[in-house]
Symmetry: C2
Subunit: 216 residues, 2 copies
Amino acid sequence: MTALSTTGATVRRPRGRRGEGGRLREEIVIAATELVSLAGDADRLSLRGVAKEVGIAAPSIYAHFADVEHLKMAVVERCFALFKAARDRQSDGITDPAEALLARCRAYCQFALDYPGPYRFMFSHHAPAADPQRPPIRVETFQALVTSSQTCQASGAAPTGDAPSLLAAEVWAALHGLVLLRMNAPHFPWPAPLWDMVDQTVRRIVGLPKQSPQPG
Amino acid sequence: MTALSTTGATVRRPRGRRGEGGRLREEIVIAATELVSLAGDADRLSLRGVAKEVGIAAPSIYAHFADVEHLKMAVVERCFALFKAARDRQSDGITDPAEALLARCRAYCQFALDYPGPYRFMFSHHAPAADPQRPPIRVETFQALVTSSQTCQASGAAPTGDAPSLLAAEVWAALHGLVLLRMNAPHFPWPAPLWDMVDQTVRRIVGLPKQSPQPG
DNA sequence: TGTACATCAGTGAACGCGCGTTCACTGATGTAC
DNA sequence: TGTACATCAGTGAACGCGCGTTCACTGATGTAC
C-alpha cells in the first residue's frame, strides 16, 4: 500500500497558499487512487469520499475536475503511470530476451496482485463514459510487450512466424485472464501456482523453449 | 437479448393465486438477469429496479430473498445455467476432439460477447460478500473444459505432458482475458480478429497442430 | 349452501443513508497606488 | 510604509435522487364448520 498511500487522515487540510492551487489537484488524484486501492474496487470511488480523505469540502474538487468522470479518468492515468513504473523497475537490466519478456510478464501479474483495486479499475468497463477520443487503455504500455516479443524473435529465442504485436496481444490477454481469475476466484481449486501457469502460458504462446538454462 | 428477456414492462403484475408464491421468485431472478444484461454491468442491479421491471413493490422481494446479496447470488447461478446451456448447444455433436475443444472455446467467447453484462457479473469481484461456502464460480462448468482437454490427449491430438486440469485452467484464463479485453477496450488497435487469436492461443496452450484439416 | 376465519401474497409510506452537483459566501493573500 | 482592493482557494448548506430495508396494513382466496 505504501507506494500509493498518503496517510488516510480525516483532518482538515490547511488552506493552500496563493498560486498553489494546482497542488490540490494532485492530492485529490492520489487520495482517489488510494481509495480505489483500499476498497479493491472501482465503484467505491466517490467525490465525497475523496474529499473526506483529502480533508477538504466536496465542492472544492470542482475547481480541478469538471465532474466525477474526469476525476476517474485522472485516476486511471495515474494507475497506468504507477503500473509502468513498477513493471520497468522489475524487468530492467535483464539482457536475455526470453528472460526479459518473462520478467515483464511476472511484473505485470505482480502489480495486479499488489494493487487489485487499481488494476481492476484500469481495465474495467468505463462504459457509459466510453469516449473514443480518450481510450482508457494506454497503447504505450502495451508497446513494451511488443518490443519484448520482437527482441525474442530477432535474437532467435522465438520463431518468427507471427507479428510481434499479435504475440504481445495474445500474451497480454492471457496474463489478464490468469491474474483476474486468481483475484476474483481465490477459492477456485487452481491446479498449479499462478507463476507456473504464467510461465508456461507465455512460453507456449510466444514459442519459447520449455525451460531456460538456470544458473547454479 | 431474446434468450434472457421478458418484456421490460412497468405494468403492475397481477397478484398470484394462492400456492403460486414461488413463481414470483423465478420472475424476480429473470428480471434481475435481464437488467444486468441490458445495463451490461453488474452494479446497476437494484431491488427497486428489479421490482419496477417485474411490476411489484420493492418489499415484495423480501418474501423470496433475505437481502440484495442473496438475489445477486441467484442471478449468478442463473447466468451460469444460461452459459452452460449456450455452450453445450454450440459444441454438441462434434466428434473430432480438437475441433470439439475449439468449438467449446468459441462458444465460451460467443456467450461473453452476446451477454456482456451477465458474463462480467459471473466472474467479477463478489468481494464484500465473499463466502468460501458459496463460490461464485461453478466448478462443474470448468469441468467440461478439462474433459475436452483430456479427450484431445487420449486421442493423440495433443501431447500428454500436462495434467488436463492444468491445460483447461490455462485455456480458461486465456479465453477470459481475450474476451474481457475486447469487451472493455473495443477501441484498442487489436492486431487480429478475436476468433483468430482465440484459435491460435488455444492451439498453442494445448499443443494442437497449427491447422485442422478443413473439409472442402 | 352459507359464513366466519386464517392465511397468503402482496402494498404504501417511511426511515436514514450517501451520492453528484449548485449556489452564494468567506476570508486569507498578494498587489497597485 | 500604509491601505484599498481584486483574486484566489476554498467552505457550508442545500437540492433532488435512488438506494436497502422496516413496518403496519390490506384484500383476495381458500378452508372448516
